[in-house]
């Protein structure tokens, strides 16, 4: 085939294009992913029974703030990554801020507690449930994020996959927080932070396969 022929073919009956459909797709994906994640957490796990107490609300808010912070930074960055060359435009390091804040607060909270409490503060009651729930709930948000990014044209597939995973993990953590009654900050840092990082790594591993265009 001659390139001239291809150019002629592509230019024949050209249609105007819609601008930035990928941004809209990402918003739709985020909304849908969040709805599904909350639905699963609500139906399969149930909301924590003490939700009406002030104490529970404070801890729930703190966990949500952590997860929303991650998702917020990650979505902004992912909209850039979805365009060719987007990875060269800005640095992704802002997303570690919520992690650093939580680790810092967890360290303070460990430091102010007697050593004999540490095990209990870190391991909590439901570490296994948290470890399993967040990645499982993250599957649907991850799938819709990938669907949205595929409308764009990412040129760094590992990083784009990682951010799709990060968003999915963050959304999933928001949903799981409704159920989780382990309220110590070290628990949140290790098990929430850890599983979200796990989702990010899974996304990075899957990115090149799922996002190629």
């Amino acid at each position: 085939m001659k390139t001239d022929d291809l150019v002629a073919l592509l230019s024949t009956n050209l249609e105007p294009v819609e601008r930035s459909p990928v941004v809209r797709a990402l918003c739709v994906a985020l909304a849908a992913g969040t709805a599904v994640a909350f639905g699963i957490a609500f139906v399969a796990l149930g909301v924590r029974s003490d939700l009406t107490t002030i104490r529970a609300l404070i801890y729930l808010t703190a966990k949500l703030a952590f997860a929303i912070g991650i998702v917020g930074f990650a979505v902004v960055y992912l909209t850039r990554l979805a365009r060719p060359g987007g990875e060269r435009k800005s640095s992704p390091f802002l997303v570690v801020v919520p992690f650093l804040v939580v680790v810092f607060l967890a360290a303070i909270s460990l430091g102010s507690a007697p050593r004999s409490h540490w095990d209990r503060m870190i391991v909590g009651d439901q570490w296994l449930e948290c470890l399993l729930s967040i990645p499982i709930i993250a599957i649907v948000p991850f799938a819709v994020s990938i669907w949205a990014v595929r409308k764009g044209a990412p040129t760094n597939l590992v990083r784009t996959g990682a951010f799709a995973g990060l968003i999915a993990g963050g959304v999933s953590a928001m949903a799981y927080a409704l159920h989780c009654t382990d309220d110590s900050l070290p628990f949140v840092a290790v098990w929430y932070g850890g599983t979200i990082v796990l989702c990010t790594l899974a996304g990075a591993a899957l990115g090149p396969r799922l996002l190629r265009w």
């Binding site: 390139t3 022929d5 150019v7 050209l14 249609e15 365009r83 060719p84």
Partner: protein, 185 residues
């Protein structure tokens, strides 16, 4: 170089609004730059320059299909370069290059030279078209090869007008995917 960017960006903005003549001129001018870029890159890592035309066409198709990802507030050159480089890396991986590293250069490099000596690529558009599903094949042929209007194409293919548009778009995407899967030797 700066005037180049300004001219090409103006063409891009017009083609995003559906101006076929601008689109044609844009792809034409980009393809000669891409040709020079790919020939240089492939020669640099000891690959035959004949592959360059395959890559030029892959990149031109990608630029066309992904033109909605261009942020009109940004310069055009880095966007074109990112696509050109992505397609090069992807092509080398697919053709099992010895994982030759493609160094990151300045985005301007992709616009640096022209090469008008087109050769034919190894892709056979007719043969590729045959592999499309019937509806897509009919829609692409009618609208893109025979230049029929959407209404005429709808009549010929037995589709609605919006069905024709959808099938043309999907057809081109499928063609690009077929090309990307075909590892030329």
């Amino acid at each position: 170089m700066a005037t180049d960017e300004i001219q090409l960006k103006a063409l891009m903005l017009a083609s995003l609004d559906g101006d076929a003549a601008s689109h044609r001129l844009l792809l034409d001018r980009l393809s000669s730059r891409l040709r020079a870029y790919y020939r240089g890159k492939l020669a640099g890592i000891g690959r035959v320059a004949a592959e360059a035309e395959d890559l030029v066409q892959e990149a031109v198709l990608a630029i066309h299909l992904k033109r909605d990802t261009y942020d009109t507030g940004e310069p055009l050159t880095p966007w074109v370069y990112a696509i050109a480089r992505y397609k090069l890396v992807d092509h080398l991986r697919r053709t099992r290059a010895s994982r030759a590293d493609v160094p990151i250069e300045e985005a301007d490099e992709v616009m640096a030279h022209d090469d008008h000596n087109a050769v034919e690529s190894s892709y056979d558009i007719g043969r590729l078209m045959e592999r499309l599903p019937k509806k897509m094949q009919c829609a692409v042929e009618a609208v893109k090869l025979d230049g029929l209007s959407t209404a005429e194409a709808a009549k010929r293919c037995g589709l609605s007008e919006s069905g024709v548009k959808v099938n043309v778009h999907r057809g081109l995407r499928t063609l690009a995917a077929l090309i990307a899967r075909e590892a030329p030797t």
